[in-house]
Every structure is written in C-alpha cells, then in structure tokens.
Subunit: 397 residues, 2 copies
C-alpha cells in the first residue's frame, strides 16, 4: 500500500551524526564523531544507589506522575538555577525527556509554518532538524568568535520579524565558542526592544575548563519575560536517564506542559526520583569538577596534536569548555569526502557542513575530545593526520 504522509515528513531526516555513529560503533574505529560523554566517568555507584532508593521509597514513585515533573526535582532545579543567577520559582520549570524535548515542545507551541527563527551559523544540528520539522524558516545571523554581530542581528530582526532567536552561547556545539558578556547583553537588549523570544540552549555550561569566569547565562539578566533556558543532566550524570529541564515565563512553560501531556504524559519518574536522591546524597558539583579536569586534559592532548599538524591554513579555536574542537581545514579539502578515507583508516569525525543553516563551509570538521582516553586520542589523531596529509598529497598531485 502507498501511504499518505504529512507534509512535515519532508523535513524529517535521520541525523548525519547519528547515522555515522551507527557505522563507527562497529569495528575498530576511534571516533571523534559523537557528542558522547565518557562512560568511564559515569557515577555508576551513586546512580545505582539513587535508583535503589527511588524504587524502594514507596510504590507511589512507580505510579503515573504529574506532567510538570516530580516536585522535589523541580525544587532542586530552582535551587541550581538560582546558583547560576537565574532566580525562578519551581512553577516556572518543566522537566523534559532530555533538553531535546524542550526544543521540540517549545517549537510545538510557538511556531506556525513560515515563522522565522534566527540562529548562529553553524549551530546545533538537532535543533535545526526540529525547527525544520515545524516548517520554520531558519536564518543565520553573522557572527564572530564573541557572538552574533549587532548590526546584522538588528537588520534581520527588523526585516524578518523572527519569533525566536536560538543560541548556544556557552561552549557551543559545534563551534566551541563562548559569547562575550557584552554580546549577551546586546542580544537581550534587542530581544526586549523588538519583542522577540530568546531560546538559550546550555547543555555544556557546567563543563568549564579554567577558573576564569564564564559570562553568566543570558537568562540571568532577564526578568523572566524574554528568555527560555534549557539544560540537561546528560553530560553531568548519565544520558540514559533522559532528564532535561526548561525554565522560563510561566505562560510558556504551562503551554509546553500541556503539549507534553499530549506528547508523552510525563517524563520517566523513576529517573526523576532517582535524581532527587542523587542530588540529596551525592556531591554532584565535586563530580562535575572531575569531569572538567578530565576533559580539560584530553582537550590539551588533542590541541597538542593539532598543533603538530604541518598544514598551512589549519585553524581552530581552543575550547574553554564543552566537548568539541571546530577545525577549519585548507579551503581545497572537502571533509565529507575525507571522512570515507578516514573511516577506512580507523578514525571518524563529523564533517562541518550539516551544521550550517546556509553557505556551508565544506572544509570544516568537528572533533570530540571527551569520549576517548589520551592514548586513543593520540592514536586517532595520528591516523587522522596521515589521512589529511595523504589527501593533501593526492589533491596537489
């Protein structure tokens, strides 16, 4: 039978990143492709105890729960948000099945086909996929290493009347950059001036490498009118729990909860109760410091090896946190073509092109440094450099 699907299936495609992951999980490939935390750092014992307590705490914890999330967890989240300068009561918080669901539910209640969303370029691939599935027109704003450029931002706001500006201002995926305080303030100022909602996606904010102060979240400068802020425990506890949250104006959060009720009733509440016990009993902030130190060390190992590559025009930004190097190769190198050879040689990365909203730069790549030990980073980078050099040689000759 020939099925009649919705128009929106045109915009659904399997993520390039995840399709690559499927391939490289097989065999002997060292992967810098995924955005995976290192599972050796998972606090397994604490997670084990937290789940045991949650399941043993009474049968009510195993029953259907409230769509908004387990109230004790929302209280913990309100407290943790306040520590970041985001002072909101727990009824401005919705627990979601990972922060991916926060992007989806927000899109569901906000966007009609043809609405405009402004983003950085490149930006988070899976957010682009959600926006496109709601038939939104995504438009890139010119940016540099400090964030969006004011002139282009204002021009695009006034000309295109966007409904939302989506940003990952701290240790972005894929770019790895950090917006300056000034640019954060400027963005919020524009949002207020022209009445546009900012969606601040912050999955990596806790993964900071140096003692230097990272500028505060944009949401911390807002009086809970213009900024939605989302984050996740996937990078700091474990991804398999699928627990994220979103904080913002109550009217928006309430509509998102109603959309969530239709979507999946509520987030897995065994995991939510377990997280409450984990936050009560476990030194999560100490654990986060261990993650920071480990990833910082790995970043430096990869940086050292990148610095040894003897190719002109290879540039990158040294990440101050997060999980990724964003590498610009010489213009004549197409990283999508390079990937096939690389996988044959036992190393994987993500070509940069799919992360672009428009004008993809084919010579870019994203390298993850969190999911391999320093030894494997060494070996993988040796393989990668060999592939690049060989490609250089073949291209020149």
């Amino acid at each position: 039978m020939k099925y009649g699907f919705s128009h929106r299936v045109r915009y659904l495609k399997s993520s390039a990143v995840r399709d690559i992951l499927k391939v490289v999980n097989k065999g002997n490939v060292i992967s810098f492709a995924g955005g995976l935390p290192d599972e050796e750092l998972f606090p397994v014992e604490a997670v084990q105890q937290a789940f045991s307590k949650a399941i043993g705490s009474g049968n009510k914890a195993l029953q259907y729960g409230e769509t908004e999330g387990v109230s004790e967890l929302r209280e913990h989240l309100a407290h943790r948000m306040a520590e970041k300068g985001i002072h909101r009561s727990s009824d401005n918080i919705l627990v979601t099945s990972g922060s991916q669901q926060a992007i989806d539910l927000f899109s569901r209640i906000m966007f009609n086909p043809g609405d405009i969303v402004l983003t950085e370029n490149p930006t988070y691939l899976a957010a682009l996929q959600v926006f496109e599935s709601y038939e939104v027109d995504v438009v890139a704003v010119d940016s540099d290493d400090e964030g969006m450029l004011e002139a282009d931002l204002e021009e695009k706001i006034t000309q295109l009347k966007p409904k939302c500006i989506y940003v990952v201002p701290t240790f972005s995926n894929p770019g790895g950059k950090v917006w300056s305080l000034e640019r954060r303030k400027k963005l919020l100022e524009m949002a207020k001036k022209y009445h546009v909602v900012i969606f601040e996606d912050d999955p990596y904010g806790d993964i900071q490498f140096d003692q230097e102060t990272t500028p505060p979240p944009i949401a911390s400068m807002d009086d809970n009118q213009f900024v939605l802020y989302t984050s996740t425990f996937s990078k700091t506890v474990v991804p398999a729990m699928r627990i994220g949250w979103i904080v913002g104006p109550h009217q928006i959060i309430r509509l998102m909860a109603q959309a969530k009720q239709a979507s999946d009733l509520h987030t897995n509440s065994i995991s939510q109760h377990a997280l409450v016990h984990l936050l009560n009993d476990f030194d999560l902030d100490g654990h986060i410091q261990t993650i920071r130190n480990t990833y910082h060390e790995r970043m430096l190992v990869m940086k050292g090896l990148l610095d040894e590559v003897k190719i002109d025009d290879l540039t990158y930004l040294t990440p101050k946190g997060g999980m990724f190097f964003w590498v610009n190769m010489p213009k004549h190198i197409n990283t999508t073509e390079l990937l096939t050879t690389a996988v044959d040689q036992g190393v994987a990365f993500v070509p940069g092109a799919p992360f672009y909203v428009s004008d993809p730069e084919q010579n870019t790549m994203r390298l993850n440094f969190t999911n391999a030990t320093p030894d494997l980073i060494q070996l993988g980078m040796e393989r990668l450099v060999k592939v690049i050099n060989q490609h250089q040689y073949e291209t020149i000759n």
Copy 2:
C-alpha cells in the same frame, strides 16, 4: 510581553481527567476517576532487581542509545507480539515513551490540518487531544457493543476519505467493550478495500478476566500493511517507566523513529535495559494473572454495588477486562454537575461527556475499579449512591 503562539495551542487543553486527579489526590476522596493501576500490585522487588542489574551491567547501558530502542527489548517485544498472532520482525517495532508517544509520533508523520480520522464515540480522551493538536477533524462512526457498524463505517470512509481509523477494540477506554471477531474482520476488510490505515490501541488487552477467548488483535489478521498496533507496560509492570511500543509497516515505523529522534532522541534506556532483565528473570505472565484475578474480583464488587442502586434507567456493560465501568444514568442526570457534589461527599468519577467526539451524553460516567481495595470500593460506592439518590430527590422535587 505578549507572546505569539502557534495556531495549534488553541487545541491544547489540560486533560479534564488529569485536572480532576490533581484535586482528588488531596484529601480524603475515594477516587474512581483515574485510569491508574493499583500500586500495591507493582512487582517492586523484581523492578528493583531489574534496575540494579541494568545499571550494574556496564557503563554502556547508561550512555546515549539508539532511537529505535534497545535491541534486546525489541526482540522480546517481537516474541510477545508473535504470541498474540502478530508476527513481525524487531525492525518493525519502535520503543516509545509510553503508548501515548506512539499516538503522537504517528500523528506527526501522518496528518496535515484538515485530515480526517474516524473513531468510536466515546473514545480515548488523550488520543482525541493529540489528533486535535494536529488540527485533524475527528469524526465518530456509529457503533454498538460489538464495534463499529458496517454501513455507517463504509459510508463515512467513502464520503470523507479518512486517513486513519483509530480504535481501542479490546476492553476499551472508556466504554469497556470488546469488539466481536466479525466486526474486527469487517473493519480490516474496509481498510483494505479503501486503503485506510487502522491504528489499534491496545493498552488493556492483557487484563482479561475470564477464560473465554477474546478475539485476536486486528493486527494479527493483517499482513503488516494496514494496521499499526500499540501497547504499553504501564498496566502490567509500572507506569513510571514510561515504556510502550508500536509495531507496524516498516516504512511508517522508520519515519516515526526519525520523528522520535527530533522529539527526544530515544526512550530512557535504563528502563529499557531493566525491562529486558525483568522479562528474562521474572514471570511476567504469572504476574499478569495475579493482576487479572485482583481486578476481576474488584470489578465484581463494584458490579454488585451498582446492581443494588435503586434507580431506573441506570445501565452498564459488565467489563470482561480492562479497568472501567461505563455507566449510563437516567437522562435527567448531568454527571458533570453531579461531580462537584460527589467530591464534596468524598468520592470522584469522570463525567462521560469529554470522551465524546460529538453529541456528548451528559448522563454518562466512567468508574475505575482497579485503584481501590474492595473495602474502599464499598465505601466509595455507598457515598456515590447517596449522592445520586440525593440528586434524584432534588431534581424530582
């Protein structure tokens, strides 16, 4: 600030059932309102062991997982489906965050605004909410206690060209009825003749009270072309895990997986791995038999008390399984009005009207018999009968 929302927020409303639940969870009300399984029957020890094994089985189980679901779980599901006569390989199965998400993801890939879905009347409230949120026109087909009536079904298919027929043919919510074999066959025949997809929602199929054979699922008569079949572990293990699944034509399942990837990446995989261990180690079918026996006994207690109500024109169908009595009161009784008095008197139910697609019958109510002990059913029914008699008296005088 005044926010601009999507058109679809018009169709989002908090479920009446869940709003009532919030009220009755407070205080001393005996609730026949919810669709909750009895938490005293939860296999807590087995769940505890299963989660402990899952978390201890290696850090990979706590990492990001595949959108389609944990492969061992899909193998188990394929096996369990085959036992119901639904023979499908595991790549025709998608694990979802409860069967609610299966309805949502299916709707997302199938429906454009203005598409038609045919349903029974009354039908599952939260499915109606999903369909409406996709701006679908839901149209009721005339039905009796055995299922949809052939003449009206064919007329509505040929006139309205629906994209889908949504049914809960076994121990339906709210009606509690079971479609006959003949009507199941007839529905599939119509679907084949006119190329319409059937969505068979079967959350209660396992909760059968007598030894008499229940007609097989409609999906078991299909060659995996016309029927999507969804079910859940919420009624047989625990709801808090939020694990459901959907089985159907690969092309549809694949698109739903892509929609799921954008929606929440994947279902909580700690719960999925735990379920694999539970299905390996625990006698789930024996446990389901205990649930059946307990609920059967409670149903009989409630039936006995309903039979004692001295009101003419009170009718109901004796449930052969599932969780609900669907009661028709005398025409002059409006159950929505009755509810306020009932809650004041310490008993709650769900008025029937919201379950109707059209022509709501205001004198209907749904009574859940699974979430209260026989003693509480006795006490609650005494309160309810008192409220009804009082209302009768007031209405007549």
